[in-house]
Amino acid sequence: MRRLRHPSWRELNRLADDELNSGPRRMALEHVAGCSRCGRRMSFLASLREAGREMRHPSPPKDLLDDVLRSRNEGGRVILPASPPPARSRRKLPAAAAGFVLAGLAGLATILLVSEAGAGASEIWFDPPDPVPGEQVRVTYRPGNLLADESSLRLRVRFRAPDSEPPRATLGKHHDIVLMPDGAGRYTGTLQLPGDFAFGLSVVEDMEGDRVDDRVGRLWSLRAHMVDGLPSLGALRQEFMVLQSMDWPAAGRAIAEMYTLYPDHAEGWSLQLAHDDVTALPDEAAADLAKHREIFRKLHMQLLGARPDVDEAAGMARYATVLGDEDALQYWSERLESQDPYHRFIVNRRVAALAADPEQAESYLESLWSAEGLRTEMVYRRGFQFAGRAGDAEAVRRWALRGLPLSDDHIWARNAALALVAHPQTRARGLAEIRRLLAHLDEESIAERPLHSSREDVRLDSRRLGRDLHVLLGEELLTVGEVRAAIAELDAAEGLGGWNPKLYRVRFEARLLEGDTLAALADFHRLDADPIYSRQSVDSLYRRIPARSPGELAAGRAKAHRELAERLLAEQSIPRPLPDAELLTATGAPRSLDELLAKRPTVLVFWDRRVFESDVEELNRAGDLLSGGSGQLLWVTSEPSSRSLLAFKRASNLDLPSYHDPDSNLATALGEWRLRAYYVIDRAGSIRARVHSLMEAVRHVEVLELESRDTVLSSGGPDPPSPDEMAGCGPLDPPFLGRSFSRPHDSVSEVCMRPIKLVSRSAIVFSLLLLTPVTFSGDRGFEDNLACSREARPNCKREIDSVCTAGSAPVWNYYTIEEL
């Protein structure tokens, strides 16, 4: 039956767009088929579409691309709306109406916010999202699984002011607010921004601080805005400062916003030039330099007739510095100094000029300290540094005493306290400061912890820092002759767990001074057993211990090996799976992480070029150490591959392939947003540890490998040689014991381990007894010694093998395999 009522205009539209459900659609079609009015309307809609499809498709004018490229070369930039705006209304309602509407729509709003954020992810909304300094901000937090169903939560914020110095120990002033549930699955609170607010970073945690939602390491950020809605220059500056130590490409984007939004201010341009100086190729850098000289010239002319404020003058002075324009630098420095004689730029420049003469530099800083209002942390740090460089112990202690109440950076406080410990007059104060620092590291002092740290993280960090502090204190005390006190500190460090070669080295000296050679020997074995401790150092220490038989040495080393394994694996040994991820090679080819790991023990390193240069040597050394065995180093960077990166690697002699994670997928899956991180991955592809230094990671891999061999080759084999069998062999010469072999960290025990590694790859090579040509190639001294021993004293073959392996299962299992 034909429908009587005419479909509405809206229904006809939906019918024409095929957006009506089947029932209404069928009825509407039936109606239109018999209704001339509705038929005409449908014809109109159809012709509209037809005309739309027929609209001509013009091409852009031919010179448009040239125009674009020319604009870019001239420094033109545009911030595009690259992401769609959120699909929710932000209109403000009168206060009274807003209350009713908010109450009524709370449930609906929740649904919209959830769908917007996506399932499972936590999110924070700041209202207003573009606050001005001093404003109150409403915070709404929607928890993910980590913090769901808590009775209340805490938002921890670090505030930065426009002129805050680059972040060091912490990101800035600390502030907490409590978030209460709103009954709709979210938590809300009010955050009062300080009057000097420029940039803030935050996390949410439970009230005990055990679980921290840090947005997978990224943190939530909030910028200060101007009244016109633009982010302030100070906000962008602080964002850049924070990001440059966390995410190099993102820091580059902050710079881009600076010079795009504030093209008349030199700061963004000078940062861009400094950034390009690192990332650009020489020919690009030359072109950039020409472009920047022109921009600088324009700004200079623009500001000549104006009255630039201190910030603008400092920006021009910095820009001139990066450009290397001495005349302009002189001009703008003088203008800046006339406005603010103690501006940071002026002080730094003066200190840099005096750097060749530390006494004069220290004297200049002393004069600054005497001036009213200049007792800043920056002046203290420079003064402390230059007093140390000048070798003036009294001045060092003077600056240390000044800095202790001023600095919240525990590394500076530690150094200052240690400087005080070195002198009898100030030792008590220094020791008190060290004790205070140790107490401050205690897990009760969690308020000032880094944003991303939970209480458990603080506990682990405290142990590590406490160990270091005890060792440093022990070292200082030993230097001033307080041997017993030094040993007490070192023992306290050992009591905090972990493996610390520096501790063993210092205690070795202390125990020899005390005359306790037996105890010193234990520390010697620990250093000898350490897979990455310098063999030259072990050689030198060997000459200072009483002569020991090979069996005793080997047994001591084996015991130390077990201790090393226990201490390392006990601390961070819980395996967890490594997330699937795809990385890009330098040529842009995708490679799965599994493929790259190839069942090899791996140190996965997250590093970026920004923090790279000074550590290249260590990275190369780690790569060498690992590739000497079966391990490998995987360098992952968030920076995309580029010719400039390849040029940087060549210039830095960095002989390591890079794998790129440009969208930070792997870093995000691991919760790593800061640049440096070291993961130890075992052969099964599981994460075995996240450690704090590269060499620590290398040590960890070596220990895992030793453990793995123990597990795989744990049964069978002849017993170690009896004392009778060993009789007549006598101790081996120290040069044999401590020789440097093909790998920098080779020791006798490790060299002897090498055949075991080869066994698993090819049994054929085991037709030779010791595989000397393969394993020890290039080390004639060792071969000669070995050959000599074999020929002169047949028993010594057994002896040499016992040195390699006595008390350690792998070597005797090696015999088992060989006999097979």
Binding site: W9, R10, N13, R14, D17, E19, R40, R41, S43, F44, L45, S47, L48, R49, E50, A51, G52, R53, E54, M55, R56, H57, P58, S59, P60, P61, L64, L65, D67, V68, L69, S71, R72, G76, R77, V78, I79, L80, P81, A82, S83, P84, P85, P86, A87, P249, R253, A256, T260, L584, T587, G588, P590, P640, S641, S642, P662, D663
Partner: protein, 177 residues
């Protein structure tokens, strides 16, 4: 990798603002960008500026492009939003004065078939919001959901704007204003 996605090496070179990479992307996508810009702004001068701005800012904006999604769709969204911003904030330049509404071809009060030229002129009578949905639907052939995603509005709002826009066009073309 799909042809619709930007190849990683090209994306990386584009991010660096390399001229050759920009040229490649421009050759492939400039027609689409310009066409959408022209339809949305109704002015070749504005379309020129929008296209210029889109390619000028592309090296920075591409850092927010999700490489898993088709590049052309993302770029279309950027173009639409850039054009909308321009329409809302800048004075629209008319290179050719539109004929007075009365000079549009006389129509009967009955619904009539629309031709291309008439539609082009009539679109200029719509507000930026209404014009956007009509262009995206009738010219670009996008679904309600795709339009909603592009404009950051919900699907119902798209339907409402679309039927209002068509009603307005109908009145304009019939002389019923």
């Amino acid at each position: 990798m799909s042809e619709q996605q930007l190849k990683p090496d090209l994306r990386f070179r584009l991010r660096r603002g390399e001229a050759e990479a920009m040229r490649q992307v421009y050759d492939r996508y400039a027609d689409d960008v310009y066409r959408v810009a022209l339809r949305l702004t109704g002015s070749s001068a504005d379309a020129y500026d929008v296209t210029h701005d889109v390619f000028l800012g592309l090296p920075e904006a591409v850092q927010r492009y999700d490489p898993e999604r088709p590049f052309s769709a993302w770029l279309q969204g950027v173009t639409v939003r850039t054009a909308q911003m321009r329409l809302r904030t800048a004075r629209r330049r008319r290179e050719v004065a539109l004929p007075a509404l009365g000079s549009l071809p006389a129509r009967s009060h009955h619904d009539a078939v629309v031709d291309r030229l008439t539609l082009e002129k009539a679109l200029d009578e719509l507000s930026a919001d209404l014009r956007s949905v009509v262009v995206l639907r009738e010219v670009e052939g996008l679904s309600y959901q795709e339009i909603a995603d592009l404009l950051g509005i919900n699907k119902s709002a798209v339907a409402v704007r679309l039927h209002r826009a068509r009603r307005r066009l109908r009145y304009i073309l019939r002389g019923d204003r």
